[in-house]
Symmetry: C2
Subunit: 160 residues, 2 copies
């Protein structure tokens, strides 16, 4: 089977654009543009990772020690961003959620259970099958997520 449809993705959107969109979004909803909100968006953008609210909060405290940003504000802003589809979250059971910028195209996740690294990919064939399945059942698909768990190449080599 030739691999013609699987892509391992890179981010493409620029920060200036993202910030612009965010400001527009806030204005449209009569919300205010605050330094905390900007810092949260910016930190999320510059960390190419999936972050827990707590990890994000720590990062912000390290990067902007003079700014007192509370964990409550991080949670509130993440909810706001998620409701607006600016970020999406991945669930990991009782250990909570991890957030990532959702401005990228839709993608699924490969998760290494050893080092925690997350690789993103999109496979068109899988996307097509998902639509076929929901169509058949009369199910109105709103979203979907797929995770593949295992050991990444690096960790396999480390273990030898």
């Amino acid at each position: 089977m030739p691999n013609v449809t699987t892509n391992f993705k890179d981010r493409t959107i620029e920060y200036a654009q993202l910030l612009e969109d965010f400001k527009t979004l806030l204005k449209k909803n009569n919300l205010k543009f605050t330094i905390q909100r900007e810092v949260i968006l910016e930190t999320l953008y510059n960390s190419n990772e999936h972050l827990t609210p707590e990890a994000l909060h720590h990062l912000i405290q390290k990067r902007y020690p003079e700014l007192k940003t509370s964990i409550a504000t991080v949670y509130r802003t993440l909810s706001l961003l998620e409701d607006s589809n600016v970020v999406t979250s991945l669930s990991f059971g009782a250990q909570g959620k991890k957030y990532e910028l959702g401005a990228k195209e839709h993608h699924d996740h490969l998760i290494c259970t050893e080092c925690g690294e997350i690789t993103e990919f999109v496979d068109e064939e899988i996307e097509k099958r998902q639509h076929a399945i929901t169509d058949e059942l009369g199910f109105k698909m709103l979203d979907h997520s797929m995770q593949i768990y295992g050991i990444c190449k690096k960790c396999q080599e480390k273990n030898k």
Copy 2:
């Protein structure tokens, strides 16, 4: 595209067999067979649903009012069963996990965000693609899960 590979699954394993396996498992690990552990396994088996620990606890209290089973024991037993691959869990973010018997064959999930109903399915084409993707990356797949979120047929009709 003809649908030749998608199956909506039913359970096939028998309880007697499951119980037998569970007892063997306990013995092998020097663990004891208790009435609480049996009741948890049995309730999980007889409820064809994905249950939260709390829901499972409630069900048990209703079905066995004379037996005092604590929520702590439910959590402890679910961990034990999950570690032993007797049950698997589905994560729903901060709302915690739902557990189901994992003795059934592997399957994915269709989740209605309106009524919470979960439908299981397996699609061979998707399974094949998953293997193709991990093979290409040298990633050793241990497990995978896929969830499709949306509105089920019933809820769509209810909303009209």
